[in-house]
């Protein structure tokens, strides 16, 4: 009963957010006035005036992509300096040393790309200045950049600027994303978290005497503000190493619920905004429905296996130790290893599915401790990387599969394939192929290299299929710009810092550039009016086809490695062996 009520609340809240935020963003990025325009327009105009940016011009996709890259590069470089020289900078009461160059490289790659993979523990490696001016700043840059490029991409796809070959203006989109979308939500979100007991202070730690009488230093700092952008921007890099499992970063079931919704808010809203822009709301809902269908399937699968618990502990004959894992009024039951008692199984799994689907990467439970199939869920979620997906890039990825789906099946209506009224031809297919090839390339190849070499294997805590899952998880998380860690893998080695850093960069920028190029290319084509002879992409049927292509093209790629990793792991567990 709890499960159903909980999910019902979740669905209703999701729908509300989708429509409200989506409708709002559709106006903001279409330069229409909103309630907040009187407040932010002066700031917006002033910023554009000071920087001297010609906001009126619409940029060709190449210029748009160039500005995006340049801006990210400059921000990344500044942050690299902040992290490396934090011992010379203020707000460092614990006198922490500067970060090692390779770790700093890995960190900026990770944060500028909205990945937030952390090979360090925030509370012991970073000063407050680094957390605020470095990490939180980069979190905002990464997320806001992602939203801006998605807006540019959707503008190209929906012909917002009719008769113009431009996607809009990157800096203007960035500014609008920041001022109109992120700033108000961050403000409200932070205040909410503070009200729930999340710390927000410049003090870095407090010393207390614990119950047993021993002195203890409890770390805190400006948590609430970082937590808000971490969730809302699908960043995921925690203030604490324990991330959203830490009581200061996720104090109660309500904050847990809100954190989940915050991860999904902008990605969901963008889907709705796309429908509005396309003047075809049904299209938006078909995409939303397809994403939600996979989301709920993953959740069901993960929840079922977690709730079933570990057979070795309870009901496997001959080796069972007779532990009760049944859900009852006394306990939530199931596999509680690595989970917080204050959340239980379903809220933990909902967080897991949301965080890996949206490329957030925050965790409220330890994914390494999930049952093997429970652990397969976040892996598969990241391999697809489009179940709502990261801010901006998720929808872009889903639409990429839409292009492939239209191309493979669209011929079957007797016309050369077209999506949203635009013909898909060789240039688009080449670009889409690059983006499609990229994901398996970045996941399978480095994982294979790591499994064959000591520099890869020596970081493993576990052997056998579980060890394979750990390495696979790391590269999947990096390629998907997710940033969550499976744990069990010591990633702070030169090999992992460098290889994961590179995977993160390629995973982010190549696919974004390819998709912006597709948008630019589609924009230059004449839009065909839809009619009875054109392939309808806003139907339940095409939604199914879309999912089918995602599962066949996107997922079959990873079947063999998943068989050798989590599936072999599960089979072994059923036979009484754990790794």
């Amino acid at each position: 009963m709890f499960e159903i009520t909980y999910l019902l609340f979740f669905l209703v809240a999701s729908l509300l957010i989708t429509v409200c935020l989506g409708g709002y963003m559709a106006k903001v990025f279409n330069y229409q006035p909103t309630l907040l325009t009187p407040i932010f327009e002066p700031i917006e105009k002033l910023s554009l005036y000071i920087t001297g940016i010609q906001s009126t011009g619409s940029q060709h996709w190449k210029q748009y992509a160039f500005d995006f890259l340049l801006f990210n590069l400059v921000c990344g470089f500044v942050t690299f300096l902040i992290l490396s020289f934090q011992h010379l900078l203020p707000l460092n009461p614990l006198h922490l040393a500067g970060m090692e160059p390779w770790q700093a490289f890995n960190t900026i790659c990770s944060f500028v790309t909205n990945t937030n993979w952390q090979s360090y523990s925030g509370e012991v490696a970073l000063s407050n200045f680094s957390q605020i001016a470095g990490i939180t700043f980069m979190m905002i840059v990464g997320a806001v950049s992602g939203l801006a490029v998605c807006v540019g991409f959707l503008r190209g796809l929906t012909n917002r600027h009719s008769g113009n070959s431009g996607l809009g203006h990157f800096y203007q989109d960035f500014l609008k994303s920041l001022l109109y979308v992120f700033l108000p939500l961050l403000l409200v979100g932070s205040l909410f978290f503070i009200s729930q007991g999340v710390p927000q202070t410049l003090q870095q730690q407090v010393s207390v005497t614990a119950l047993e009488g021993a002195p203890q230093n409890i770390a805190f700092g400006p948590v609430a503000s970082l937590l808000t952008i971490k969730q809302l921007g699908t960043n995921g890099g925690g203030f604490f190493n324990a991330n959203s499992a830490h009581p200061f970063e996720n104090p109660n079931p309500l904050t847990n619920f809100i954190e989940i919704l915050m991860e999904l808010a902008i990605p969901m809203g963008l889907v709705y905004m796309f429908g509005v822009w396309l003047k075809n709301r049904m299209q938006g809902w078909v995409i939303w429905g397809a994403m939600m269908a996979v989301f709920l399937s993953f959740l069901w699968m993960g929840n079922a296996f977690e709730q079933a618990g570990n057979p070795i502990l309870s009901h496997l004959p001959s080796i069972s130790v007779g532990i009760d894992q049944q859900s009852s009024s006394l306990q939530s039951g199931g596999n509680m290893e690595g989970k917080e008692v204050r959340f239980g199984v379903l809220p933990s799994m909902l967080f897991t599915v949301a965080t890996t689907g949206t490329s957030t990467g925050a965790v409220n439970n330890m994914h390494d401790s999930l049952t093997p199939i429970g652990g397969l869920v976040p892996l598969a979620d990241m391999m697809l990387n489009i179940i709502f997906g990261g801010v901006g890039v998720g929808l872009m990825g889903f639409l990429l599969y839409g292009i492939i789906a239209v191309f493979l099946t669209g011929l079957m209506v007797g016309r050369t394939p077209e999506i949203f009224g635009k013909k898909i031809e060789k240039p688009e297919i080449i670009l889409a192929s690059i983006a499609i090839l990229l994901h398996p390339l970045l996941i399978l190849v480095p994982t294979a290299i790591a499994t064959m070499n000591d520099f890869g294997l020596s970081s493993l805590n576990n052997l056998g299929p579980h060890g394979l899952s750990e390495i696979l998880y790391a590269y999947t998380s990096a390629a998907a710009n997710n940033g969550s860690a499976f744990a069990g893998l010591n990633a702070n080695t030169p090999w992992y810092n460098i290889s994961l850093g590179i995977v993160i960069l390629l995973g982010r920028y190549i696919s974004i550039i390819a998709l912006l190029a597709i948008a630019g290319s589609l924009l230059s084509k004449t839009k065909m009016e839809p009619g009875p002879g054109t392939l309808p992409t806003n139907t339940l049927l095409f939604g199914g086809v879309w999912l089918g292509v995602i599962l066949i093209v996107g997922a079959l790629t990873f079947v063999p490695v998943l068989v050798l990793g989590p599936l072999a792991d599960q089979l072994a567990m059923l036979n009484g062996t754990l790794f």
Partner: protein
């Protein structure tokens, strides 16, 4: 040989005058050529154009080496006979793919051969600058040369008639055996085609094409597929298939490492088998055959497509611009009703009208006599010594003058009015009203008068070709807008348009109106198709995305168009659209089928590969294939035999019924998508059982 009309059954217009249909004896020749081509196409230089099959060929070569040196790529546990088995299946897969392409090409070649026969070593009489004649080979002629062709000779190359009037037999090109008159100065009759024959008199012809560029050369090259270029969609699909191949290559190569880590080493032959199963070999093998067969289907309709691109584009057509006359209507107005004035009976009017038309050989005149006969007016005879008065532009009427001075006339209302008034009689307003009434209904009124007396009005009506209304309805369900172009006044045009069921019409259309119309729809993002035959149609034909020129048309029209209809039947444009759609659907259906097959193959192969190291993998062997070798060989054999099984479908095209895109997608997804998922489960299991029977 299957009749191409059958493959689009719903279009019931049966053409019994199929031309260029390869004779049955050609069948064995085609087969023979295909069997040869099957091996010659193994050449890697040809194979690399098809990335999917190229990967299969490399796999074949590797297993070939391993068949002799099993240990060459490291120690292996599998038996030599297993490696040989994989090698043989891969070889057969390649042969099947090549056979599909060679067979499709062969059918085109057989058709081209009958054309080639006409392109024999023709001699031409070249007129030199000094006026003397010189015998040269047809291949030495250049554009601008002037030749003389006399009775019984073959016209050496395409050209324009400069001088002379002659009848020509164009059956080599059109299949139409009735001779046509060729003379200079006229739009259509002045152009001659190389390979056709002068039957009488002589012609002086100015050659307009260089060797290898003539219409016949182009036609032979096109149907032979020698110059076949991949169409844009085919290229894009090849790119995507190559990308999928690369993805699966990555999957298989990295799997070696994961298997090594899992202490379950993979055998190279098995790995190659897995790769070949996963890459889209079915569509890779049939892709070019589908394209060739599509072009072939067009030419079997006696339409020559100048490029595959045009055929592909015809599937995308959103607007069809059709000329009224000859396309929608039979081309001539026919009598449909006699409307007498007060005081005259239908019988009287019919008799008078028929009498005036007995010597009239125009279709209108004949139809008047016929209608009268149908109404029971039989003993039609003009008195002796009747003089017939031919229609002239001046009088705009025709009729007969009897010996007794009686003058019977039928003609346009104004003409008859003048005829009556000239005789000093009053013009009855009743006839005028009747005539206007007919005009309002979209008909053409002919007023019939005898001496000073008006008998009534003949209602001449455009007769819509049978079946056109149904076809336009089908077009509408396919989302294609049909627009009728006519020089008629808006009232007439509207009536015909309504009766034929076209979506829109343009009345009093001038040739330049067509271009404006095409541009208007193109700016809305619609692809436009049209037909034309005159020189003034040429710009519009060039502007249209699909321009179908009539073979009877001028050289300029034919050059501007991207398709030429040898039968000069403009309504074939509708068939061409269907063929284009069918081609695309076939390509999409087989691609979907091919990719969907992968699910079952995974279920067959993955458990088989790891079952030794991880016995619990048996849980995934849902097909119950038993041994690993059996499972892998079954999947690989299925992968090979599905190709020849689908060759007929690739050549014939999947069945196409006009329906909305959504209905089409639903239907085809169910058949080829869902079918593509389910079929291999059944097929692989069946092959596995068969292999068991042979103790494998």
């Amino acid at each position: 040989m299957q009749n191409p009309v059958e493959s689009i059954e719903s279009f019931t217009v049966q053409r019994n005058d199929r031309k260029h249909k390869p004779a049955m004896s050609n069948q064995s020749l085609i087969l023979q050529q295909a069997l040869t081509g099957m091996f010659t196409k193994l050449d890697p230089r040809l194979m690399i154009k098809n990335p999917v099959m190229f990967v299969v060929e490399i796999g074949f070569l590797l297993t070939l080496v391993m068949s002799f040196q099993p240990q060459i790529f490291g120690p292996t546990l599998v038996t030599q006979s297993y490696v040989v088995g994989v090698m043989v299946i891969l070889f057969v897969t390649l042969l099947f793919a090549n056979f599909a392409e060679a067979y499709a090409e062969g059918r085109g070649k057989a058709q081209a051969d009958s054309l080639k026969k006409t392109r024999s070593t023709t001699q031409a009489r070249l007129i030199l600058a000094d006026g003397t004649e010189k015998l040269v080979g047809a291949s030495d002629l250049r554009a601008g040369n002037i030749v003389r062709v006399t009775m019984g000779e073959i016209i050496p190359s395409d050209g324009e008639v400069m001088e002379g009037i002659a009848s020509a037999d164009e059956s080599a090109i059109t299949g139409e055996s009735a001779p046509v008159i060729k003379e200079p100065g006229t739009d259509m009759a002045s152009s001659v085609t190389g390979g056709t024959k002068v039957l009488s008199d002589y012609l002086l012809i100015k050659i307009t094409s260089n060797p290898g560029e003539s219409f016949l050369d182009k036609m032979v090259a096109l149907v032979e597929g020698a110059k076949r270029q991949k169409t844009p969609n085919e290229i894009a699909l090849t790119v995507l298939l190559a990308a999928l191949t690369l993805v699966f290559l990555m999957v298989c190569v990295t799997l070696v490492f994961y298997a090594g880590y899992s202490k379950s080493p993979l055998d190279t032959a098995t790995l190659i088998a897995l790769l070949v199963c996963l890459i889209p070999t079915t569509i890779g093998a049939l892709l070019s055959a589908i394209g060739i067969a599509g072009m072939d289907r067009v030419s079997r309709f006696n339409v020559i497509a100048m490029s595959g691109k045009a055929v592909e584009a015809s599937g995308d057509i959103g607007v069809l611009i059709l000329d009224k006359t000859g396309t929608i209507t039979l081309g001539n107005r026919l009598a449909s009703e006699f409307i007498p004035v007060a005081g005259k009976t239908v019988d009287q009017l019919a008799r008078m009208a028929a009498c005036s038309s007995l010597d009239d050989t125009t279709p209108e005149g004949k139809s008047i006599v016929e209608l009268a006969k149908r109404l029971g007016v039989t003993d039609l005879n003009n008195p002796a010594n009747t003089t017939s008065v031919e229609f002239s532009a001046e009088t705009r009427s025709s009729g007969v003058d009897w010996e007794d001075g009686t003058r019977v006339r039928k003609g346009a209302m104004d003409a008859i009015k003048r005829f009556i008034l000239d005789q000093g009689w009053q013009w009855s307003s009743e006839a005028q009203e009747l005539a206007e009434q007919v005009a309002r209904q979209g008909g053409t009124p002919l007023v019939v008068a005898c001496n000073t007396e008006v008998y009534g009005v003949i209602h001449l009506k455009d007769i819509i070709k049978p079946g056109m209304a149904e076809r336009f309805a089908q077009m509408r369900t396919m989302g294609i807008k049909t627009i009728m172009c006519t020089g008629d006044n808006p009232i007439t045009a509207e009536v015909i348009a309504r009766e034929a069921g076209v979506d829109d019409f343009v009345a009093e259309a001038k040739p330049e109106d067509k271009i404006a119309l095409i541009k208007k729809y193109q700016s809305q993002g619609l692809l436009v198709a049209m037909t034309g035959d005159g020189t003034n149609d040429a710009p519009a034909l060039a502007q249209a995305d699909v321009g179908l020129a009539m073979n009877s048309g001028t050289q300029a029209a034919k050059e501007a168009a991207n398709m030429i209809d040898l039968d000069s039947d403009p309504s074939k444009l509708i068939d061409v659209v269907s063929i284009g759609k069918q081609l695309l659907i076939t390509r999409g259906a087989l691609t979907t089928f091919s990719v969907a097959n992968d699910i079952a193959k995974y279920f067959a192969i993955i458990p088989a590969i790891f079952i030794v190291a991880i016995p619990a993998m048996k849980a995934f062997d849902i097909m119950g294939l038993g041994s690993a070798d059996n499972a892998i060989l079954s999947a690989l054999i299925f992968n090979a035999v599905i190709i020849p099984l689908l060759i007929p479908l690739a050549l014939k095209g999947v069945q196409f019924k006009p329906m909305s895109a959504n209905q089409l997608l639903t239907r085809n997804i169910l058949i080829y998508g869902l079918g593509g998922i389910i079929a291999p489960f059944i097929g692989i299991k069946a092959i596995s059982l068969a292999l068991n029977l042979f103790g494998l």
